[in-house]
């Protein structure tokens, strides 16, 4: 089955990013195709490489980056939600005159159309969040 995953909550505050990660990993393990993982609302905070959790805790951001590298996942951060919350890549820094970037490896910033396209192209849209 072809799946698009939507994550609506930030890391650590809320379990939905953890649940989405384990779900995505399990789905890949069962041979399903992940068309896209879309980060929306506070979910965009899963895409900052500046995260520094305590060493004895899981690193949620790195975990996504690693999964993306292993499986060629398309991790998309919503641009409108990212601008509000300060998630920045090179293009956004240039466009909005910011002096830094923080996007994590394997993530890219793009528009809401990517979510809608995911819903059109996939058999299921699986949403994690409140």
């Amino acid at each position: 089955m072809k799946l698009t995953i939507q994550i609506n909550e930030g890391p650590y505050q809320h379990q939905s990013s953890d649940s989405a990660y384990y779900f995505t990993k399990a789905a890949l393990g069962k041979g399903h195709e992940i068309f896209r993982v879309f980060f929306y609302h506070d979910g965009v905070n899963n895409g900052t490489r500046l995260t520094t959790p305590p060493q004895d805790d899981r690193n949620i951001v790195n975990r996504w980056s690693e999964l993306a590298e292993q499986h060629g996942l398309d991790l998309v951060v919503c641009v409108a939600a990212a601008q509000r919350r300060g998630i920045v890549d090179d293009g956004e820094a240039k466009r909005n005159g910011k002096d830094a970037t923080n996007i994590a490896p394997g993530f890219r910033i793009s528009g809401l159309g990517q979510l809608v396209e995911g819903a059109i192209q996939s058999d299921r849209l699986v949403v994690f969040g409140d």
């Binding site: 609302h41 809608v116 059109i120 849209l125 949403v127």
Partner: protein
């Protein structure tokens, strides 16, 4: 992308306490360009999103409620509001904005967008969709 899917955007939360309502509306507006068969559902505290005469001056946040009246222009013409959710909150249809759309096939006749449905009917509407967006 020739296949047309039935999309239902499910709105369950009050408009300003969290950003879900506003960012849901942003998806609906962007998604309109993809020409799918779109419906919106409002239930639980989500019914507050459609109330009329919203005034956000006291909380310093943008009042985005006028945007709902533009949905008809985006060819979003099916807005399902759950009757029980309204009643549980002491609201009625009169407390909501009068949302309309113009029917091209009937000489641009103005028609109501909001359809009051029961909880049981809402379940059927959800079951009938290809994709649910939950906000």
């Amino acid at each position: 992308m020739s296949e047309i899917k039935k999309f239902l955007y499910v709105n369950r939360k009050a408009p300003y306490g969290t950003i879900y309502a506003w960012e849901s509306l942003e998806v609906v507006l962007i998604g309109a360009a993809f020409e799918q068969d779109v419906s919106l559902a409002f239930l639980d505290d989500g019914v507050y999103q459609l109330t009329k005469d919203q005034d956000t001056n006291g909380i310093g946040m943008k009042n985005f409620s006028p945007t709902y009246s533009a949905l008809g222009d985006y060819e979003v013409t099916k807005i399902f509001v759950e009757k029980e959710s309204l009643e549980e909150r002491g609201l009625s249809l009169d407390d909501l904005q009068h949302l309309t759309w113009e029917d091209e096939d009937e000489d641009w006749a103005e028609k109501d967008s909001i359809r009051l449905v029961s909880r049981a009917e809402m379940a059927e509407i959800m079951a009938d969709q290809d994709m649910l967006f939950n906000f």
